[in-house]
Symmetry: D5
Subunit: 93 residues, 10 copies
């Protein structure tokens, strides 16, 4: 099942640069793992914002929560999840 996920990141402006960088590196590594596993299908930047929209594949919302909360930036994230149903136009896709 697919989910549309909106994430706004709220790292404090005054976080030391090195701490911020190592967090961002860890975040990218974990996100790439989710992509490699076929869980994180697509991801886009919301232009102008420290935010993204992404498309997940997960068996259910419990597994989706496990994936999102595994991200190192999770404690600073505001996350909204929307469930998606298959559309007949994609039948046979």
């Amino acid at each position: 099942m697919e989910f549309l996920v909106r994430i706004q990141v709220g790292l404090p402006v005054d976080m030391p640069a090195s701490e911020r960088q190592s967090l961002l590196d860890a975040e990218a590594a974990q996100a790439r793992e989710l992509m490699a596993d076929g869980n994180l299908l697509r991801i886009w930047r919301v232009p102008g914002r420290q935010a993204n929209v992404s498309l997940y594949e997960a068996p259910d919302a419990t597994e989706l929560h496990r994936m999102i909360s595994s991200l190192p930036l999770w404690p600073w994230m505001d996350v909204r999840v929307e469930p998606l149903a298959a559309h007949p136009l994609e039948a046979g896709r």
Copy 2:
């Protein structure tokens, strides 16, 4: 997987009473079938409104859509679906 579903029904006030009644009867019959099949787990009235909150069990959002849109009142419904993840406090439930 469980879903929290909010439904506001908007039947026109001037619908003939018999048409309304037969719609409501068909709706109740179909809802009871969803309950018997273990899809519609709980349902509550929103006090004061022609609306309800319900708890569904469905394999995914595609099946949930099939269930909700099978309801005879569906063309008059405004529906909001929220995905639910398991909470650790219910582990072993």
Copy 3:
């Protein structure tokens, strides 16, 4: 450039079934053409609603408007468009 598009369809409940069906058939045909042309990349049902979320590829918002307003159901649609920027995690995708 990609766009996230949300469409709520508001066909009147009392539209004659044949008129509705021929509109829906024409809609599906036109949507398939947009898919074949690589403009409509993905489409999902919003569970429980006569609504969808879709992902478009278009050179700009002017072309996107031309695509969406070419859909036969357009006069009955409420449409929201959100621009998407590429995310570094997809570099090399």
Copy 4:
């Protein structure tokens, strides 16, 4: 009478890990007591968020307030309560 309760938890990101853990342990213990007493009937995670949806049984809103404010995390919670009425479909349940 049943109530639908939405809770968003806002523990500060920089709370010491041990303090956080002991708060979470105390929270879980108190929640289990509310479950054992038949007050907290169900609880779900809102996927992606430090938030939950729960179903309470309480004689009235005054007792419900006493239950919720007994939770150790209460000072950091944003809580919304919605009263639920019985639905005729559940008659005889």
Copy 5:
């Protein structure tokens, strides 16, 4: 238990005056009955609007729904219910 109830009435502007008057008379009669029974404790007009705020006493939301939906104007009402808990300042009131 007490509930705060907000009601917006949406009678169509072109309803025949006699039909409107007999509805309003029936509404007032039923509301007075709810007052006499100790269910409808207070009622205020929202200034400038065909709307009111009222205070109900009811055993639970199920009974409250029965009371509100007994009002002849109910099919034209938009109703919002908010549960109220006792405040310690009123202890001994």
Copy 6:
């Protein structure tokens, strides 16, 4: 004239317990005075929240502001005031 007042209190979580207690005591004392003077007619807790709904009698909004801002917790309050008009059903009350 009566006013419906909604107050959300936002005391910081880390306020020293003794300072908090003396503020709450002073608040209760001042609220009781407003009750004794016939200004604060009713007060309810919003279940689950550090918030209340109350009913004031005041000659006008200027006096109401003087009453509310006399409360010791006022600097930490978010307050919303709604004017109430008499309802014909209460005529002769």
Copy 7:
């Protein structure tokens, strides 16, 4: 006491021109009476809309409701009322 009043007028587009004109004439006459009586102190157009913002002087919300609902366009109005308190800067005004 002064009140800030926002009114959006929703006359149907297809109302016959003569009916519309006689309503607007009656509205203007009644509004001028409220101005002459010192009840309607100021009135502004919301640019681009069939709406206005106005400033009323009335003893209380009950009288204000009587004034607003005396306007011939009232059945087509959506009205929002906000109570205003005197500001110390205007003391001695």
Copy 8:
């Protein structure tokens, strides 16, 4: 002074095609006049919607209202106006 104006057009779907076309033609003619007079500086389509965003130059809100309400589609428009102040970066523009 410049104003940012958002207009959503709500022509009924079932308006006869010829009536719609003559309205749209008259609208375009009047809009071109506003452009020629230096009142309507820019106009954009909101992609996917029967809506536009535009930039007006007008001496004040009264004149702006006169301009907007001169448009033949005005009775079917929902209009929002936002005042704009000069930005220092454009000094000397």
Copy 9:
């Protein structure tokens, strides 16, 4: 041209009393100057809040911004400006 201005003041609760007082004194002095110059026509307290509604006369939004940002409390203000058009009922006022 007239503007309706809403200002919410957000001075921190723990600002030293003397600093607060001197800010408030400077604010009142500057506001009185704006009143004397015919720019600030009216000002009201929003009851219960550290907020006000005011009526400004200014040649345009650029000058209005200069006036508002000249207020000593400006760095702590959340300000909303609404343009007002003349209403025919006030013609000849």
Copy 10:
């Protein structure tokens, strides 16, 4: 393609004046560069607020994000981007 961009700046009130000034200077320099390059076409102040509305020309949302995030104040900005489509009235502009 053009984009409408809304930016609210949230510099902390207690930032040292020299740091603030050097940030604002760097911001102005970078904004002037975007103007010189034909990317930032127009910019307006939102009256009364530390906010602006601007009009960008960018090949797509990815480039737009690069432009906006190049601004020195970006870490303190809340940004909303809206895509704009060409309007037929401007054909030949």
